[in-house]
């Protein structure tokens, strides 16, 4: 009886979910953030349900199996994706419908677990340690003092340090495609000396970002500038929300996300996010780092380029924008805080433009070149991925600074109009 009462209490709390974000899964992730029935967690250990949003690429199947098994059993897997469901999960997976709030669907499925009954969701990886160690070598897999694979993994070997020549051990691991710290799909081989990044090597590029449909429409036909600018402001606000979450302000991040979903022309970022979004970001780690130097500067695009002082903006060529009095905003320096400031100022500018455009019902002039939130977008050549810019920027930075630098860029490529390319990975 007391146990039932406890169970009822547990059902009252939002269900923790770990999202696996694939190609075209960003909008579903935003819907999850805003849903009151679930909390999105940063680690699968804190979650009772795994939500698969978007299409998982072929090369990331192994990583998906690993993360799926890392959610502690009993768990519920929620499938909201076009990827084919793996054989092992076919009987137990909960398929999502796009019609209702996916958060509520996940919560309903997960609350059945509190009764204690097993969910039928099985592990996908074999139940064995990473390397056999029982009885191997010295009895636990080790050989000699530091060799072999004690308990299944090798010990670290010392190597020269970046800075002061002490020979201590590096911490080497690969961060995979479904880490909340990286853009979805990005795989990195990382080696840390203490807290400091000693080596950062891009192994897998992130999935292409899917923009709001209005940007693709603007390539071919006139579109209301108000809609275009609102979508741009929403995209920048979501990037800022991610940066705020990394700085420890999760509540403010959710507030920005909520505001981004309900934008109206004429608002200001200060009102939406609470005054002092920039002040908060100025205090966080890594503000003066992340300046792209030398030849790599030519690969900067969109707000990143404008934050480094290059005033190129495709909207300059559009007479409709010129009529509204548009001038590109730039910052100097090209540091992290410059890029964040650029996002805030562009979002403010976009909201003002939207207000002016809504009043005068201005339409954009289609010219085959559209300024998207990530950079200039054309029909023929979609924006390429520039994640390897990060490799040289991040070496020598402390971990939180490195992650801040990563979050201040918009790295992934942009998905082009041809969606058949996404289908070939889905089988």
């Amino acid at each position: 009886m007391a146990v039932n009462w406890l169970r009822k209490l547990a059902s009252g709390a939002p269900v923790p979910v770990f999202p696996i974000v694939g190609r075209a899964g960003e909008s579903a992730l935003q819907a999850l953030y805003l849903s009151p029935a679930v909390t999105v967690t940063r680690s699968p250990r804190h979650a009772r349900a795994l939500a698969v949003l978007g299409v998982i690429g072929q090369r990331d199947r192994e990583a998906f199996r690993r993360v799926h098994d890392q959610v502690p059993a009993p768990r519920v897997t929620f499938w909201f994706s076009d990827t084919a469901i793996p054989e092992a999960l076919r009987s137990s997976v909960v398929i999502g419908e796009a019609s209702t709030d996916i958060g509520a669907q996940i919560a309903r499925a997960a609350k059945a677990l509190y009764g204690g009954q097993p969910s039928g969701d099985v592990d996908m990886c074999p139940d064995e340690p990473p390397a056999p160690w029982k009885g191997v070598g010295d009895g636990h897999g080790g050989e000699g003092m530091m060799g072999g694979k004690p308990y299944g993994r090798p010990m670290a070997m010392p190597e020269d340090d970046l800075r002061d020549g002490l020979q201590l051990d590096p911490l080497a691991f690969s961060i995979g495609p479904f880490s909340p710290l990286l853009p979805p799909g990005m795989v990195v081989e990382c080696k840390l000396h203490g807290d400091v990044v000693a080596q950062w090597e891009l192994v897998g590029r992130p999935y292409e970002r899917t923009l709001a449909p209005v940007f693709y429409q603007a390539l071919e036909e006139p579109v209301a500038i108000a809609d275009l600018e609102l979508a741009r402001a929403a995209s920048h606000l979501r990037g800022l929300a991610e940066a705020l979450q990394l700085a420890g302000l999760g509540a403010y991040a959710n507030r920005l996300r909520r505001g981004a979903a309900r934008l109206t022309p004429g608002q200001s970022v200060d009102k939406i996010g609470g005054s002092g979004v920039l002040r908060a970001l100025r205090w966080s780690a890594g503000t003066e780092k992340g300046v792209v130097e030398g030849d790599a500067r030519v690969r900067l695009r969109g707000p990143g380029a404008r934050a480094a002082g290059y005033p190129g903006d495709a909207r300059q060529n559009d007479p409709a924008y010129a009529a509204l009095g548009f001038k590109p905003v730039t910052q100097g320096g090209g540091t992290c805080v410059a890029r964040w400031k650029q996002w805030i100022e562009e979002a403010d500018q976009a909201l003002k433009l939207a207000e002016a455009a809504a009043r005068s019902q201005t339409m954009s002039s289609p010219s085959g070149l559209v300024e998207s939130p990530l950079g200039p977008l054309t029909k023929s050549s979609p924006l390429p991925d520039c994640s390897d810019l990060i490799d040289s920027l991040v070496v020598g930075l402390e971990w939180s600074e490195a992650i801040a630098v990563l979050s201040s860029f918009d790295l992934p490529a942009v998905r082009d109009l041809d969606s058949t390319r996404a289908r070939e990975d889905a089988s």
């Binding site: 098994d69 139940d127 051990d169 911490l171 690969s174 961060i175 479904f178 880490s179 795989v187 203490g194």
Partner: protein, 118 residues
């Protein structure tokens, strides 16, 4: 008597400790085998190449030396605080000198980059 106070402290500590241990081992946590795939450290799908228990390069050891100096000063300040008012100005100047000398240590550490990571 102090011993009675310490007894209350001990009882509070023991009862809280017992509560904590009970919470972890109480019924509802069936002792089941946790499969190896679940045990792998979470890295977003990536894998660690070595154990995490390494000779980690903490970079702030100069700062810890400074900390030890100040800790020793703190030890002296505890009894100093109790007799301070009765001793008067002499006590103030003595501790002031002690603090001043150690503050020069902070300045030196700051200039030498003891508070920086790289």
């Amino acid at each position: 008597m102090e011993l009675r106070q310490l007894l209350v402290l001990l009882l509070v500590a023991l009862i809280t400790g017992a509560l904590g241990v009970w919470l972890q081992y109480s019924p509802g946590q069936a002792k089941k085998h946790i499969p190896w795939p679940q045990r792998a450290p979470f890295l977003g799908g990536g894998q660690p190449h070595t154990h995490a228990w390494t000779r980690f390069h903490v970079r702030y050891y100069p700062m810890t030396l400074l900390l030890i100096a100040f800790e020793m000063e703190m030890m002296f300040m505890y009894p100093w605080a109790v007799v301070y008012v009765s001793e008067g100005l002499k006590a103030l100047t003595e501790m002031g000198m002690f603090l001043g000398i150690l503050s020069i240590g902070i300045l030196y550490g700051w200039r030498e980059g003891a508070f920086k990571w790289q």
